[in-house]
Amino acid sequence: MTTTDTNTSTNSSPRDRVTGTPFTRGLGVVILAGMTLLIILGIFVSPADVNQGESVRIMYAHVPGAWLAYLAFVVTGISSAAYLWKRTRSLTWDRIAGASAEVGVLFMGISLVTGSLWGRITWGTYWTWDARLTTTAFLFVTYIGYLAVRGLGGTHQQRARRSAVLALLAVLEIPLVHFSVQLWNTLHQEASVAGRGTDVEMDGLMLFTLFLGVAVFTLMYVWLLLHRQRSLALDDMLDDSGLDNALTARRAEAQGVAR
């Protein structure tokens, strides 16, 4: 199996390997610091919103969560394309795609949960059949389906090919989620940060806190992605070494029959 094209491949048994490196450990420290700052700024320092009041603080988790989920799914799409393109075909891309989708589902989950908490406070309900909310739910389910297909079994290459095709189709739903607020008249917030020429103006500190949130979530995404990708690589290696053992056993069986 072509798993051995990862940089993590050496002769030692995969069971002894860890997924951390000095870089990720450093990254971890930065994330912790950033998180602390975010909590301080988000909960204590930044001002309450004119309309939303204190509840606006949920935004600092909700919005980065959604955006990072988008990012993660886009990364899944890109690395799936990289896997499918013959010249760059490598299972590493497939594992990045899988890892990124898992992390994306996690972030999307965070956004869904914080969103519905926020909804409880501002709209008085956890859930409503608003287009943004519904399309988000569909996106979430789509990637659960993607992960289900990854788990179907077969060889690594089969898994990679099937799921890559699916990922390229699934990523097309993101624009639908993003533009759902324009397509349908929704309860949900219009694009206020990245939106074109909206008249919503945000307090400077709020904006800064939001961007800090995005930055911290991005680092967290990178950290999770690296670890998960490596542990997936180790899983695949474990499969491979399992294959080695099975091969040896089968050959011995053939010897046994021969004599």
């Binding site: 079994g153 077969g154 060889t155 294959l243 099975a246 091969l247 089968r250 050959r251 053939a254």
Partner: protein, 225 residues
């Protein structure tokens, strides 16, 4: 049957070196080495679960080559296994028939997918004794052996370069077996290559020009019968 087109220089039709194929996580082929030349009729024998079906499916480009080298009809199995497909004729444990279509419709469908003419389809039907009452019967109304005949007729209609047959005799009656053997011998004489997995050793040994034993995912030569 006329001779099959012949690319000069490729007289080794199947060439496997240490081929490994994995089903689930089990190495059903565990380093198989085999080379088969044009015009041979090779019998694959060996106990249940040895890997005969897997070997045939590997050569047909239906499952990936996990490790080792493999060339079939000059095509590299590692990178281009889909290219081998329209040049081989395969029959597996299943028949691959549409139960709602008639015998003729089935054979014609399978013939057409590979560009066979109407005359060829009719000839194949006649060959397998399916041109009488059975011709317009729906496949769901056939007996097991009649289904197998229909599947074989579909295969005969294509006239592949390489025939890969997994227990083709199973279910056929005595006459059917003779017809099939005759078809295979004629195909081989016309330059095609045949590989047959079978447990009916006496009969298959009469057909084969060479026997090979598959044991625990490996291939072992046996002297000519």
């Amino acid at each position: 049957m006329s001779t099959i087109a012949h690319e000069p220089g490729i007289d080794v039709v199947i060439d496997l070196v240490d081929a490994v194929a994995v089903l689930g996580s089990f190495p059903a082929l565990a380093g198989a080495t085999l080379s088969v030349c044009r015009g041979e009729i090779v019998l694959l024998r060996g106990p249940n679960g040895a890997g005969k079906t897997t070997l045939l499916r590997l050569c047909a480009g239906l499952i990936p080559l996990e490790r080792g080298h493999g060339q079939v009809l000059g095509v590299d199995l590692k990178n281009d296994r889909e290219l081998v497909r329209h040049r081989v004729g395969v029959i597996g444990h299943n028949n691959g028939l549409y139960a709602d279509l008639t015998v003729t419709e089935n054979v014609r469908f399978w013939g057409r997918t590979v560009g066979a003419t109407r005359a060829e389809v009719d000839a194949a039907l006649r060959r397998m004794g399916l041109d009488g009452r059975l011709a317009d019967l729906q496949v769901s109304r056939l007996s097991a052996g009649q289904k197998r005949r229909t599947a074989l007729a579909g295969l005969v209609a294509r006239r592949a370069e390489l025939w890969l047959l997994d227990e083709p005799h199973a279910g056929l009656d005595a006459a059917g077996r003779d017809e099939l053997d005759q078809v295979l011998k004629m195909a081989a004489a016309a330059g095609a290559t045949v590989m047959v997995a079978s447990h009916e050793l006496e009969r298959a040994a009469q057909l084969a020009t060479r026997q090979v034993e598959v044991v625990a995912g490996q291939v072992r030569e046996i002297g000519a019968p």
